[in-house]
């Protein structure tokens, strides 16, 4: 396991003692668990620079004041949750650590954050964990052969608001290249308009994220970086975020929550399942999630969602700040218009 549990006394003794304890494992993509009672006895001034520059992910366990928790990459209250996150981290330690280092050193501003995220994502596209996922998949799930030519996005006016609807319900509005390009064009045109915009999904789900059938079809990781920033849905959503309401229901995974989290208001139906499955592919979020989710809910929430891998329900997402409101599915459309009118 790429997990090291630090003894409380060791943490209290300071950075040199911690480094000595990690000496045999350093160079590996590690998750270091730090007990709250160890932090309580530590000299914070000496430990803080270590926590900021450590090339390992740090997870605090137990009760501690806010300032102490914020100095670590992630924090959970109990050992059982810490074990679950450690198991999740173990699925793809390189990607899990990359995400922690990325959001810890997050540059100021959305665009610099998107560039940094895309760089990390492309790096992982060339790494062993993504290659392992790709190799395992090729024998079980062939790429999608779907050839329907139906539009992926519809734009219309409703109650005085502009509504953009994802229209690929049979695939839970998974984002393929066609949807990416149609949504990019639709949101790009809306950047020139005024007034509230509502984003929502047709069918059983808002958006299940990137279309897995098209994963690993990028030409090369470095070229993919350029394409990703050229057709950046995160950039498009960010440009209109202050007048944007996103209504989510059903699957709200990967890019589904990453894009939604930029919006001024996010309203969720109580059937929404919100998660970041990227680690299962040896990747990090690539649709702006490392910018939008920490901005809404903090970097610990981003890492907790990513490392765990399991989706959370709408009520928990509201407690974390990922969504603003939870309503019954029958109220979702109406409530999204009410919120848009208040913007």
């Amino acid at each position: 396991m790429p997990v090291v549990d630090l003894d409380p006394g060791l943490v209290a003794a300071g950075p040199a003692a911690v480094d000595a304890a990690l000496a045999d494992r350093i160079g590996e993509p590690l998750l270091v668990r730090i007990p709250a009672d160890g932090l309580a006895g530590a000299d914070e001034g000496r430990l803080r620079p270590w926590l900021r520059t450590a090339p390992v992910a740090t997870l605090g366990v137990g009760e501690a004041p806010r300032a102490a928790r914020d100095a670590l990459d992630c924090w959970v209250g109990d050992a059982a949750t810490a074990d679950r996150l450690a198991d999740g981290f173990d699925r793809a330690p390189l990607a899990a650590l990359t995400a922690a280092l990325l959001v810890r050193a997050a540059p100021t501003g959305v665009w610099p954050g998107l560039v940094a995220e895309s760089t990390a994502y492309s790096m992982l596209q060339g790494g062993p964990e993504f290659a392992a996922w790709r190799a395992a998949r090729s024998t079980t799930a062939p790429a999608s052969t779907e050839a329907d030519n139906a539009p992926r996005v519809r734009v219309h006016a409703e109650h005085g608001h502009t509504v953009v609807t994802l229209t690929r319900p049979a695939r839970h509005n998974a984002i393929d290249v066609r949807m990416r390009d149609e949504l990019d064009a639709a949101l790009g045109a809306l950047a020139e308009t005024r007034g509230p915009v509502i984003l929502r999904g047709e069918g059983p789900s808002w958006c299940s994220g990137g279309d897995l059938g098209e994963f690993a079809t990028f030409p090369d990781p470095v070229g993919a970086h350029v394409v990703r920033l050229t057709r950046s849905l995160a950039g498009r959503v960010h440009a209109i975020e202050r007048r944007l309401v996103v209504a989510v229901h059903g699957a709200c995974l990967g890019a589904g929550i990453e894009l939604a989290a930029f919006a001024a208001r996010v309203v969720a139906a109580d059937d929404a399942r919100i998660g970041l499955p990227e680690l299962g592919l040896g990747l990090v979020p690539g649709a702006g999630g490392t910018v939008s989710i920490p901005r809404r809910a903090g970097r610990a929430a981003l890492l907790r969602l990513l490392w765990a891998g399991d989706p959370i329900d709408a009520h928990r997402a509201r407690r974390w700040g990922l969504v603003d409101e939870v309503v019954p599915p029958s109220r979702l459309v109406e409530r999204s218009h009410e919120l848009a009118a208040e913007l």
Binding site: V177, D184, A216, F218, P219, A224, V227, T230, G286
Partner: protein
């Protein structure tokens, strides 16, 4: 149909392309037919 700022319109007959730098009402026509909004250059998947 209003012309959208920043959009390119192309003629289906010839190679004429118009870039809208100031949005407004009206219709763009060339060779006796309405010009169509140009679609974005196709780019591959980045995933």
């Amino acid at each position: 149909m209003a012309n959208l700022l920043g959009k390119r319109y192309v003629c289906a007959e010839c190679e004429a392309t118009v870039l809208v730098t100031k949005a407004g009402e009206g219709a763009l026509a060339c060779h006796g037919q309405a010009m169509e909004p140009a679609t974005a250059k196709p780019l591959p998947s980045s995933d």
